[in-house]
Symmetry: C2
Subunit: 215 residues, 2 copies
Amino acid sequence: MDKDKIDKKDHILDVAERVFSDLGFDGASTRTISSEAGVNMAMLNYYFGSKEGLFLAIFERKISSFRTLLQNIGSDDSMSSWDKLAKCIDNYVERIIVNNCFQKLINREITMTKRWDLSDKIVEILMVNVFEVRKIIEEGLNSGNFYKDIDIPMVIATMFGTKNYIINTPQMSSLIVGHDIRDEKFMEEVLKPRLKTYMKRLLKAYLVNENDNSK
Amino acid sequence: MDKDKIDKKDHILDVAERVFSDLGFDGASTRTISSEAGVNMAMLNYYFGSKEGLFLAIFERKISSFRTLLQNIGSDDSMSSWDKLAKCIDNYVERIIVNNCFQKLINREITMTKRWDLSDKIVEILMVNVFEVRKIIEEGLNSGNFYKDIDIPMVIATMFGTKNYIINTPQMSSLIVGHDIRDEKFMEEVLKPRLKTYMKRLLKAYLVNENDNSK
DNA sequence: CAAAATTAATCAAACGATTGATTAGTGAAA
DNA sequence: TTTCACTAATCAATCGTTTGATTAATTTTG
């Protein structure tokens, strides 16, 4: 049936996404991917043409969900600039677990500048998120809610960089935090709220005029 | 001669560092490295034992000098905790940006969670630097110079994460900053001092009791 | 409807190429 | 002579991909 075929392709993409993110594009062999997915090796070429075609298919599938998620960010006029940014932070931290495999995959392959033009495509997708955040911060700057002399690009780097550091290098951050962050329960109940609280307090101390460190 | 041998090994390490950075650990073959370095393939195994040995040799060469630098700062009793941390930031920004292709190399390989043998060794070496920074922050916490309720692991994540984000994704950060950050002149004269200023003000606002945001 | 023809899905096996590593041997220096 | 730096040739293993054959499903035909 058609349905079964789609399910199977989807299953292969799920597995391939995980294996690629664990081992990298070169490190993940077609044999490993196919055996972990429980399909014959030739199926990868049959469905996706090549290893690179498989890799691209993973991205194609993700693009749409990214776009739709973004539409709900920053368009609410009833909130202050800071509240918007705070909501932004909560939103991204919340999505850490769901997409952490994919985020790692992106962040690794985007650094392979010599390899292919795919990185331009990745950049384009990610920049949509960045511009959304920047718009909010600029809004807070212009409205006088934030300090005049803040460095917006650097704030963005801190927002995404801090989160990326924690989820992309779990071996490091587990040692730093003192607990295995790959433990789902710990991540959900401890690390996520802790990261939200920290990020908001950190950026508020840097951005916002009023000094309200209580709560 | 002994001198010639050391020079040759150093030359191989220079070339290998560049090739690894461009192509990744898997993507860079021993044949590519040796031919680019102008030496016989077997020399790599002769000098460094294995491909992984070569990789780790690159690592050890870069990291050891910075480690001693950090330890010197940490053990200097004539400075306040904040001044120590500020000096750490300055040195870190100054140094890591010079070696940014090496930094990319590290960050790419460390995210491959399934390859324990290689990434564990990287983590072990990197953690020495992390602990050094943590010691300084803890000192500031215990001495009362910093707020009592700061989140030390998160501060570390911000320090390393912000810098990593800028360096590892130059296509992204160039768009965010509005200038090609791979331009050496811009990096040296604009971005480096800007990143230092930002990092210190950001962390000071979060960490230190006295609220001195003027200048 | 049933038989035949066609297509799609799947498989084991093997392809040539490339990988990291090793060997045996060379020649010069000590 | 023994040691050392070095090379060309070669190793087994693995890579991504292709193949020819087989089965399952669908369509066409009578």
